[in-house]
């Protein structure tokens, strides 16, 4: 039996004695009876007057003056309203994600059931006419390849820019540099797509042909298209698009490195790079991982820029895993066909592709969360 129960106070009375009585506690006020020396036999139960049902009325100044302190009435309404609001927002978000997931599943299910090809390993895409045969293998490869390549290019550069802004460059210049990087985030993605295909692609063609002729033995660099609509160009444009996101968050995280850690590194005689390596980067690890996952999410879902840049392979063409081949990502394939959803079966097939992208993003974010949490705990 707990002490509170022993002494007759029920446990759901959250009020402390202080709220029910005056601030000055005398021996007579205390619910705990003095049992004398501690090692005496079990003490008898102490009954005491139940606390008043209503909260004590605010005391007059005179009485308070007599007692020494004036108490304010604590209202719980603000707490209730805010906790309700916060809880409601949380529920709303989960409900929204659930609704989107349910919508995707409900629309895709009939088409998936009627699918005659293996959904995960086939590259076929016949969605009009009587037979449905569609598979996402090609889409999955191109989406993952372009996003991974974009991350490989963008993350080191973003960390470098963030370190430059926070550690190397003087304050005045760093604000200007940060401003310019944030401007990059404000450029609409269709502009990136048009710029990529008209300006960047012709510039990259010589590099593309050099790489494919000299490193063509490696399957990822095999000979592909002779035009600029390759995964290579698309990945570079994606990297430019996700760079500001990763840089902005990494910059904030590096800025918050405790000065104690930095000072300690300096005190131990570290050079600037050693200080960054031992104090800044380990502290910012989880933040950089979260930032990269945000960037990856954008790279996976980017639609318009990829649709404009990538050349679609001809139906029935052989699979070319090269980065110099064309392809379609989930998002660009759905966008390409969006105006021609004339039958439920066709719509369901495309929505099934969207569902796979939804699941991939979910999984990637879950992995990111575990990495981040592990970092926090350690």
């Amino acid at each position: 039996m707990s002490l509170t129960e022993e002494n007759g106070l029920s446990t759901d009375q959250n009020r402390s004695p202080i709220q029910n009585r005056s601030l000055t506690l005398t021996a007579a006020d205390s619910p705990v009876v003095d049992h004398g020396p501690v090692n005496t036999p079990p003490v008898p139960r102490v009954t005491q007057a139940p606390p008043p049902a209503a909260p004590a009325a605010p005391e007059t100044a005179e009485e308070g003056g007599r007692r020494g302190v004036k108490l304010a009435k604590i209202s719980r309404r603000g707490d209730r309203v805010f906790s309700g609001f916060a809880g409601g927002s949380g529920v709303l978000i989960v409900a929204l994600v659930a609704f989107v997931g349910i919508f995707l599943i409900v629309i895709a299910a009939p088409s998936l059931a009627a699918n005659t090809a293996d959904f995960f390993t086939s590259r076929e895409w016949t969605v009009s006419g009587d037979t449905l045969a569609f598979g996402i293998a090609g889409l999955l490869w191109t989406t993952v390849l372009s996003a991974a390549l974009a991350m490989v290019i963008a993350v080191p550069i973003a960390i470098g820019v963030a370190l430059c802004i926070t550690q190397y460059v003087p304050r005045r210049l760093s604000n200007g540099l940060a401003f310019v990087v944030d401007l990059l985030a404000a450029v609409p993605s269709i502009i990136f797509g048009l710029w990529g295909i008209t300006v960047l692609a012709p510039l990259l063609l010589p590099a593309q042909s050099w790489l494919s002729t000299n490193l063509g033995w490696f399957p990822l660099f095999a000979v592909g298209l002779s035009s600029g609509g390759t995964v290579f160009v698309a990945s570079i444009v994606l990297a430019i698009m996700i760079l500001p996101i990763i840089t902005a968050i990494s910059r904030d995280v590096f800025d918050q490195t405790p000065h104690d850690h930095i000072e300690a590194a300096w005190a131990l005689g570290a050079t600037r790079w050693e200080m960054i390596r031992t104090a800044v980067l380990p502290y910012g690890r989880t933040g950089v991982v979260s930032a990269s996952m945000l960037g990856l999410g954008r790279a996976l879902g980017e639609t318009i820029a990829v649709m404009i840049i990538l050349s679609t392979p001809a139906p029935g063409a052989a699979f070319n895993p090269s980065v110099f081949a064309g392809g379609e990502t989930f998002a660009s394939k759905i966008a390409n066909a969006a105006s021609e959803f004339d039958t439920p079966a066709k719509t369901g097939a495309y929505i099934a592709a969207g569902l796979v992208l939804f699941v991939i993003t979910f999984v990637v974010n879950a992995i990111a969360r575990t990495i981040a949490d592990r970092g926090v705990r350690s």
């Binding site: 679609t312 390409n336 021609e340």
Partner: protein
């Protein structure tokens, strides 16, 4: 004490607000309706006999006639003092027909006539008849879009191709420019040994459908796939005709098919077609000559055409697509019908049709134009 940073911050905020306000105020101009580029003299409404009723008309459909539509809507507005509001939304033939028989728009623009057989669970002609209150819907050809085969070959100003060789190029059987089949047709040209890069429309397109119809009919068996809105040949897919045109423009040794206006706008060379009658260049006259051999397969005022792709004779360019305006013969609300008949009458007039040529379309040949005009007058 106010720090310099605070002042700088306030100045930055004020200038940001000013910039945003400036951008916002630019939107307070008048609606950017396309203005007519030339042509219509002020007194033309009385001359061309337009009734100019007031009202609102909405249409949706084919992108191939998108440029023609906006130009004609602007000219009609000029001629009639903008009394009527006409809107056309180029979302694609399929979407346009669906919206039309769904009752959401007053007419549809489509690159192919309403289908009378069942496709994907629906017979378009029947659904349209339902929409028109039991009265048949008519396919009225209005915009003739020649299909150009644009190529990018350094030093080759004239390229002659037959439909058979084109089919072989588009299906990947001919892979290099100096292939004997191409060299035979172009004895004087300096054809390189580089690979042919083919571009196609990655989105579903009426242009693709008409090209495949043409190649299947005229290709002498070199094109075996069924005509469809999705490409069945080889090559790289690009989004919309603008993407395809950009692709050809930027890739040496490439070839593709696109509406004539896109080839013109991008300054691309177009191949001459030899359909058995000798090399024919793409001009409005040669297209008109091929179109005048088309047969009307609809009955009465339903002018659905069956285009002639083979044996078109000398001086005819048979690779073309016709965009129909799909209208209710009867059953549309009176206000919309008045605007529709007036607008389509203006559209089918000789003056408007010939003004479309500079946009890359061909005018309707005279006999077809007469039939179209009388069909428009018969709309109730």
């Amino acid at each position: 004490m106010i720090s310099n940073r605070l002042i700088a911050g306030r100045v930055a905020a004020a200038s940001a607000v000013a910039t945003l306000a400036a951008f916002g105020l630019t939107a307070c101009g008048s609606d950017p309706t396309p203005t007519a580029a030339g042509g219509e003299p002020a007194g033309s409404s009385s001359a061309s006999g337009l009734a100019c009723p007031a009202g609102k008309l909405t249409g949706e459909g084919s992108t191939a006639q998108g440029n023609a539509m906006s130009e004609v809507i602007a000219n009609y507005g000029d001629a009639c003092g903008s009394k009527a509001t006409i809107e056309y939304n180029p979302t694609g033939s399929g979407a346009g027909i669906k919206q039309f028989y769904g009752g959401l728009v007053d007419f549809a623009g489509s690159d192919s006539a309403l289908k009378t057989e069942e496709k994907d669970g629906v017979i378009e002609a029947d659904k349209a008849k339902e929409r028109c209150g039991g009265n048949p819907a008519w396919n009225i050809p209005m915009v003739v879009g020649p299909i150009a085969f644009a190529y990018n070959l350094e030093g080759v100003d004239k390229l002659i191709l037959t439909p058979e060789v084109l089919s072989q190029i588009f299906t990947g059987k001919i892979t290099t420019w100096n292939d004997p089949a191409i060299a035979k047709l172009n004895s004087g040209a300096n054809l390189p040994s580089s690979k042919i890069s083919v571009f196609f429309r990655s989105d579903e397109s009426g242009t693709t459908e008409n090209v495949s119809k043409f190649l299947k009919a005229a290709g002498d068996g070199a094109w075996t796939a069924e005509p469809s809105k999705s490409w069945t040949g080889t090559g790289e897919g690009k989004n919309k005709s603008s993407g395809v045109a950009d692709g050809v423009k930027s890739t040496p040794g490439s070839i593709s098919y696109m509406e004539w206006s896109y080839a013109k706008d991008n300054g691309l060379a177009t191949a001459q077609l030899d359909n058995g009658g000798g090399a024919t260049e793409l001009t409005a006259e040669t297209v008109g000559k091929a179109l005048s051999q088309a047969q009307v397969k609809g009955s009465g005022n339903d002018l659905a055409l069956s285009l002639k792709y083979t044996d078109t004779g000398a001086g005819a360019y048979p690779a073309l697509l016709v965009t129909y305006e799909i209208v209710c013969s009867k059953g549309l609300a009176a206000e919309q019908t008045a605007v529709l008949t007036d607008f389509l009458g203006f559209f089918s007039s000789t003056k408007t049709q010939s003004s479309l040529e500079e946009l890359g379309y061909a005018p309707l040949p005279t006999d077809l134009q007469t039939k179209v005009a009388s069909a428009v007058k018969a709309i109730q």
